[in-house]
Subunit: 405 residues, 2 copies
Amino acid sequence: MSQTFIKTLREAPKDEIARNGALLTRAGYVHKEMAGVYDFLPMGLRVLEKIKSIIREELNKIGGQEVLLSTLQNPELWEKTGRFSNQQVDIWFKTELSSGGVVGLAPTHEEPITNLMKTYISSYKDLPLVAYQFQTKFRNEKRAKSGILRGREFLMKDMYSFHTSEDDLDRYYAEVEKAYERIFARLGLDDTYETFASGGIFSKYSHEYQTFLSVGEDTVYYNDDKSVVLNKEVYNDEVLGDLGVKREDLKETTAAEVGNIFKLKFKYSEPLGLEFSDEENHLKTVYMGCYGIGVSRVMGVIAEKYADEKGLVWPEQIAPYKYYLVAIGEAGAAKAEELYAGHEESVLYDDRAARPGEKFADFELMGIPYRVVVSDKTLAEDAVEVTDRKTGESKIVKLADFAID
Amino acid sequence: MSQTFIKTLREAPKDEIARNGALLTRAGYVHKEMAGVYDFLPMGLRVLEKIKSIIREELNKIGGQEVLLSTLQNPELWEKTGRFSNQQVDIWFKTELSSGGVVGLAPTHEEPITNLMKTYISSYKDLPLVAYQFQTKFRNEKRAKSGILRGREFLMKDMYSFHTSEDDLDRYYAEVEKAYERIFARLGLDDTYETFASGGIFSKYSHEYQTFLSVGEDTVYYNDDKSVVLNKEVYNDEVLGDLGVKREDLKETTAAEVGNIFKLKFKYSEPLGLEFSDEENHLKTVYMGCYGIGVSRVMGVIAEKYADEKGLVWPEQIAPYKYYLVAIGEAGAAKAEELYAGHEESVLYDDRAARPGEKFADFELMGIPYRVVVSDKTLAEDAVEVTDRKTGESKIVKLADFAID
C-alpha cells in the first residue's frame, strides 16, 4: 500500500447521496467526475475486471464471440429504425464532426451490429452466430443520483444472437437464461430473479434480471417461491391472467435491474435488411435476440447488497484482493514480507506506518474478504490470525496450515 | 472457423484508401463505421488485447497502477488550464447534458488525473506515484483517411507520473525510456526511435517514438546510426546546434508516431493546484510527466510494416492465433480435431467445407504465423507440414516432434 495510491478517505463528496457511491469513493474504488460519471481507481478496476471475467467465461461457453464496437454512431443507420430522433430515444448524447454532420454516442448497439452482420451473414450456413462486447455506453440521463447504479457513462455487456428460425432463437434464449443464472450466482447475486417485463411490439414479454434491493429503482411483484416475478409495468389483470397468478398471492418489493434479455425477432433485421438464403436459396430475414448485463451497475448492486455499518463486503470471487495483510512489530513485518512475496495479485499488504486500529478500520471499509495479522503474539504460536470480514470472526491458523492462494 | 464469424472479404469498402484499413478489413479484423471510427472483430480484439498485455506487463514493472478514467469531461476543470476552448484545443467533441451544460469527450486526461490526485497526494510520503490506463480517446479530426493509424475514436495508453522534484521526474523519465524500448522491441517495432520533438513552453524538447514507415504521417531526420532522430518541426539550426549534428549528416524519411513522453513539470499541477507538503511541511507544487502509446495505431503500424503482397504478417507475440490448422481428407480431419482439442487459444482451425487453396489464401491474408497441414500424405510420414507465413518456407515435422504451445 505504501507504493500505491490505494487509500481510504474520511468523506465522500457532499453531493454523493447514494450509499454505493459514497462507500466506493471513501474506500478508494471510484472517483466521481460529475453526476453519473465515475473514474475507476486501481481497486475499482480490479473488481470490474473480475466481474467481466466471470461473465466472459460463461458467454464463451455458450458460443459468444467477443468484439468491440465503436461509440461514435452514424445517424443514417439509426434513422432506418427511427431511433436517432430524440423523440424516439430521449437519452442520446449527440455531437458534431468538424468535417460536418452530427454523430451520436452509442447508448446501445442493435443497429451497428445488425448492419455489421450484413457483411458476415449471407447463408443459413453462417447461422447461428453470437457476438458480445464489454463496452462503455453513454446515456444522457436527466438525473443520475444513484452512484454507479445509474450512469451517464457506464460499462455494459451487450450480446446479440442471430438465427435462421424462431425455434433456434428460442433454443438459444433458453441457453442464455441458464448462463445468466450461472453468472448471477457466481457474482454473489443470488437473490436475482428472471422477471417479466413489457416486450414492446414484437414480443409479448421481455425478461429482466432483477436483484431484490432496498435502493433499487424498480418495483416488482413476486409470489412466495419467486417462481413468478413481474415488473410493475406489466402488473395488470391481463398479464396476471397470462401468468396464472392472483394479486393476493403477490408481494411488492424494490429491485435493481442487472440484466435483460429480449427476443428481438425482426425488429432490427427487417428495417436494416439483414437476410440469409435458406437451403432452398430463398432470402429470409434473420431472427435476432439481445442480452444485456450492466457491468458497472452490477458492481454497485453488489456493493449495496453486502455492505454493513463498517463498510463494503466483497464476495471473494470479485474482491480486488482476497487477503488484507497487517504486520505488528518487527518480527511480524519480516514474516509479512515473506508471506507477501509472490502473492501480489491476491494480497493487499498494508505496510504503511500507521496504527493497527487504523489499518483494521481500512480493511473493514474496503471490504477485503480476509484480514491476516502477523504479530509477535501470533508468531509465538507459529501462527497468523485470520479474520473473516463478513462474519467478523477471527481464528488462529498455524503457519504450517496457512497457504495464500 | 465454422462456428465463428471469422472470415475474409473479397473487398474492402471503396472509401478505404489506407492499406492497413483495407487489409485489416479484408482479413476480418476490423469493420469501418465511418472515417476514423472502427469496430474490432474477434481477431482484431485479440490482437489489441495482446498489445495491451505487453504494455501492461512493462508498465507494472516500473510501478504503474492501472486505472480507468471517464470519457465525459467537466469543462470547469479544463477551463483552469485554458484547454476547453476550441481555439486552444481544436479537436474537441462536445455534447450537451439534458440537465443543462456542455461536456467534452476526453481527447487526453492530464486535467482529470491531476485533479484526481489532489485527493490522493498531500505529502511527500505519497510520492512518487504513477497511474496509467487503456482508454478510448475521442479527437474530432478534420481528416481521417489513414485507417486505424489516425482515429476519431481510438485506443490509447496514457500514463502520468507525479514527483517531489525535477531529479525524481528525470529519474523516472529515464525508467520509462527503458520500458518503452522494451515495449516496442517486444511488439516487433524494432525500427522505432526516440525522436526529438518540440517541447512546448515548459521543456525545450519532448520525445516522440517514431517508427520508420513509408505511409507514416511525420517527417523525421536521422543520422547513420540513428543515435539522433528529430522531427521536422525541430529541424532548425538552433536544435541542430544543441544536438551537435550537421544537416549534411542527416537523412530524411517518413515515420509514424507510436508514442510520446513529456516532462510536464508544473504545466498542469500549477493551474490545478496539485501540491504536496515536504519534509519541512512547506507546500510545493508536484512535478509531473506523461507518457502515451497509441494502442490501436500500433496495431495499424505493425500491420503496415509487416504486410506483403499476400496480406498481413503478424509477429508471433501479437498474432490472434499462432497456428492456422488445415486438414485434407478424412484421416487428416480426424487428426486435426485431435491436434485442435484443448488448444483453442493458440490455434485457428479452418474446418470449413472449402478447397485447400482457398484456405491457404485466407491463411496468408490473415497473417497467422504458422500454417499446419494434416493430410493423408503427411500422415503417411507420421507428420504434419508446417509453413512459415513470413518466409513462405514449409517443412515436414514428425508428429512426435510437433507440440502446439
